[in-house]
């Protein structure tokens, strides 16, 4: 069921942003307004209207909640996975560089990571989100318009990098002392070959676990950012953005908050359980400290 969002466009009868403010639908043979004149939206009708408005409409625009839920889930998952890929890529490269070269390369990278790490994650996310909400991002040929979901993806991918880079760097520092690294150098392997050919294969199991848990974390951060208005920009929906609109209506339509929230909990929970199992399976003794939290999410400290 959690994968349903992937097929959203095939299942849905209407677009996620299509409004049905003054429309009427037939529920179990009875004509009903999607939104009543005083602004109350129709609640869940389940299978009463041929699958339309399964979970009712969202607020006074009369958008189909179920359709939005599916499209929103797609956004949330996309952000979670894409940001995790970015984080993983950056963390692997930085971790390898810092751990392999040590010396000033390590100092520079570690200090930069310290800075991002010390930056309160939510504040940094909101600051960047707000900063980019108006003008978008323009770096050379790379141009991202302000409503694009790439903005939250990049922000999340960026702010969580230290949390993955630090444990990886620690691991690389330890691996680097192993004789097989020296053996590779003795055979004439260059730094890149050593990093990616020799060290990286030893990091995979760790990376996969961190990656899984990172998706879970990213989805939580995405929801928090969207809740604060710095994440996914309307009318695009994500589960976090849906909670954000939902809480505005919580006293009149609590389901609009409860449903997307439950979806997040279930998805994140599955990812956490999966990541946990993966960790136990691959590396039972390792203590991965990367756990799901939106606000504070701890790196593994070397020696801890």
């Amino acid at each position: 069921m959690l994968a349903a969002p992937l097929w959203a466009s095939h299942v849905a009868h209407t677009g996620p942003d299509t409004t049905h403010t003054t429309e009427k639908i037939t529920v179990d043979g009875e004509r009903r307004e999607v939104v009543s004149p005083d602004g109350a939206s129709i609640g869940p009708v389940w299978f009463g209207a041929d699958g339309r408005f399964f979970l009712g409409a969202d607020g006074r625009l009369g958008r189909d909640e179920m359709v939005r839920l599916m499209y929103g889930g797609r956004t949330s998952l996309l952000i979670g996975v894409a940001a995790a890929l970015i984080t993983t890529f950056l963390a692997v490269v930085l971790g390898l560089l810092a751990g392999y070269h040590r010396g000033w390369t390590d100092s520079v990278i570690s200090r930069a990571m310290d800075i991002v790490w010390a930056f309160p994650v939510l504040l940094l996310g909101i600051a960047l989100g707000t900063a980019l909400a108006v003008g978008g991002l323009q770096i050379g040929p790379l141009s991202i318009s302000s409503g694009s979901i790439w903005i939250p993806i990049l922000i999340i991918g960026f702010v969580y990098t230290p949390y993955m880079a630090r444990p990886l760097r620690g691991e690389v520092l330890a691996l680097r002392e192993k004789e097989f690294v020296e053996a590779a150098v003795a055979q004439g392997a260059g730094p890149l070959r050593v990093m990616f050919g020799e060290l990286l294969p030893n990091l995979w199991s760790r990376i996969i676990v961190l990656f899984t848990l990172s998706i879970a974390n990213n989805m939580l951060l995405e929801s928090a950012l969207s809740f604060l208005g710095a994440g996914v920009q309307p009318p695009a929906s994500s589960w976090g953005a849906m909670i954000s609109t939902g809480t505005e209506l919580i006293y009149s339509a609590p389901l609009l908050t409860i449903i997307p929230g439950t979806m997040i909990v279930l998805t994140v929970l599955s990812l956490n359980v999966f990541g946990d199992g993966l960790r136990d399976a691959i590396d039972p003794r390792s203590r991965v400290r990367l756990e799901a939290h939106a606000g504070t999410f701890e790196p593994e400290r070397e020696g801890a």
Partner: protein, 319 residues
């Protein structure tokens, strides 16, 4: 040792400096943050905007503006662009609420985190452990702000069991203070309870296989004594570390969501307001405040560790 501490503290200053520059730049490259027109308001004339730019120094070069701002923060004279109030004073006023929230929540999460972790480890593999594992996994999978909103709906509106938010100073009425904070404390703590009990559980399970524990058992200590005196005590060290870092992070911005939802008027709420106003001075000050706590606690933890384990000192020094 002293050398390590001095270095770490210097590093901390460097990080704070870098953060202040980053924040400053982020908000100076936003096209629409132009503070002068914002201060001038809706009907502003060009003269008014020009006059404001002169008064506030917005026409100075950026480094000069940065320097002025930092000087004002540290002399406590920085005023916000949108309300013209003293930023340091506002932060100062938010501290009681933020600390009440964080310290209370921290007490709760430490207590339950340790309790659950201990029970889970002792009953490893049994029903209690399974149940607690599920519970803690759910705990770390719930978006905090969502939990807060749902609790608010059910416990303050459907069943009017708790007040719907707001902060009552401890000095005014201790009972009311706690009553208003129960929900925020609980919500904030849930995540950490899950997190800490999981860490403690795995640490304890590891520790139970260590030689010194076997020796203790062999000496004839009761299982209970072994657990409390040896296993738990040693497994708590990493928890205390984590606590230092988490507490820093929560004070430094982690509480922002809870504060806004429960209308606690703490530092986090102040930051959220400032960000939505694109009001640079408070954002600078609050970010530095938050980063200060994060860095401070991580430095304290590092120094404490270096004290306990000299190898770290050497490693750090050789970098």
């Amino acid at each position: 040792m002293g050398r390590f501490a001095v270095r770490r503290l210097l590093g901390m200053l460097l990080v704070l400096f870098a953060i202040s520059i980053i924040v400053f730049l982020i908000f100076n490259v936003i096209p629409s943050s132009d503070p002068a027109s914002r201060i001038a308001g809706k009907n502003a004339t060009p003269q008014l905007v020009a006059s404001i730019e002169r008064t506030w120094g917005f026409d100075d070069p950026l480094p000069a503006q940065y320097w002025t701002m930092m000087k004002l923060i540290f002399t406590g004279e920085l005023i916000s662009y949108s309300s013209q109030l003293n930023v340091d004073e506002q932060i100062w006023k938010g501290i009681p609420a933020t600390f009440s929230l964080c310290i209370g929540a921290a007490a709760i999460w430490m207590f339950f985190g340790i309790l659950f972790g201990y029970l889970s480890a002792v009953k490893a593999g049994r029903l209690t452990d399974r149940a607690l594992t599920i519970l803690t996994l759910v705990g770390i999978s719930v978006p905090v702000f969502w939990l807060a909103s749902v609790l608010l709906y059910y416990l303050t509106f459907k069943v009017q069991l708790f007040p719907s938010g707001g902060y009552v100073p401890l000095t005014e009425n201790p009972l009311d203070w706690a009553y208003h904070l129960i929900l925020p404390w609980t919500t904030l703590a849930v995540l950490f309870i899950g997190f800490y009990s999981r860490v403690l559980r795995s640490n304890m399970l590891d520790a139970m296989n260590e030689d010194y524990v076997r020796t203790a058992r062999a000496k004839g200590l009761s299982e209970r004594q072994v657990r409390m005196r040896h296993v738990l005590r040693n497994s708590l060290i990493p928890i205390v570390t984590l606590f230092g870092l988490d507490f820093g992070a929560v004070v430094g911005g982690g509480a922002i969501l809870i504060e806004s939802i429960f209308n606690l008027n703490g530092v986090g709420q102040y930051a959220a307001d400032a960000i939505s106003n694109l009001d640079l001075p408070p954002i600078m000050a609050v970010t530095l405040f938050g980063a200060f706590f994060v860095v401070l606690f991580s430095t304290l933890v590092d120094i404490a560790y270096a004290y306990l384990d000299p190898r770290i000192r050497l490693e750090a020094a050789s970098r």
